[in-house]
Symmetry: C2
Subunit: 125 residues, 2 copies
DNA sequence: CCGAATCCCACAGGATACTG
DNA sequence: CAGTATCCTGTGGGATTCGG
């Protein structure tokens, strides 16, 4: 009953090794995707606006993350031929769809952070 | 629900660099947490049962992931003094709570995997 | 202002073998 | 059965500098 690469007859199964959904989980499972997508929740933002909202991210990693998400079709990158240059990023329909579970994760993290930190201190004894 | 890093007047903010919720996102953002927690959705499982459900994970990484989640208070580890040994893992209340957003992520991944793979192929041209 | 280009490295995590 | 114990590699991601 195992599925290989999600042939159309079987439902995709992230527990299966070669299922395509694994690569999607890998993308969400990087340090910044959740924050970048979350930051774009309210609408399009410029590169520098994203950087100020997301504290601690370096420009290089910012670019990497944005390119990866653009590649996946989660957001669009629009360059305006102006001086000084302006580049705006905006979620696609797919991206806004992703926003729902991602917001859920972020809210969960924010709500339970203190409890988890406390749990760790107890455990480390 | 109060946060630790920020004063109680402010809501926890995952976008802020030093907010505790960052560490929680870091934990979710590893390759296996989503799958391990998801696998325990239906109840307690033994080490070997987890390994067969989650294809591709090595015993060492399995142990690492389980210990980290135990430390966070997401699951419990119960050792039975038997021969052969038996160890069972079960979600805590916190873990079952985490299950909700995690399931959402996994379902999203499974639903949109094929589309994202297609997007990538288009982009890589 | 928006990145591209380099350099660098800690460390997650894979492979393999062994043990109480 | 349920893990350790080693060894090793890829790469995510940080710091810094440069360019259009």
């Amino acid at each position: 009953m195992e599925t290989i690469a999600s042939s159309s007859a079987f439902p995709p199964d992230a527990f299966a090794k070669d299922c395509a959904s694994r690569v999607v989980l890998d993308r969400i499972g990087d340090r910044w995707t959740v924050l970048v997508v979350g930051a774009l929740a309210d609408g399009r933002l410029r590169f520098s606006e994203l950087r100020t909202r997301i504290e601690g991210i370096t420009p290089k990693v910012m670019t990497q993350t944005l390119r990866a998400l653009e590649r996946d079709g989660v957001l669009t990158r629009t360059v305006y031929a102006e001086v000084p240059p302006r580049v705006e990023y905006e979620l696609t329909d797919l991206g806004r769809d992703l926003l729902v579970p991602i917001d859920a994760i972020r809210h969960w993290a924010e709500q339970h952070a203190s409890r988890i930190v406390a749990n760790r201190e107890v455990y480390d004894r």
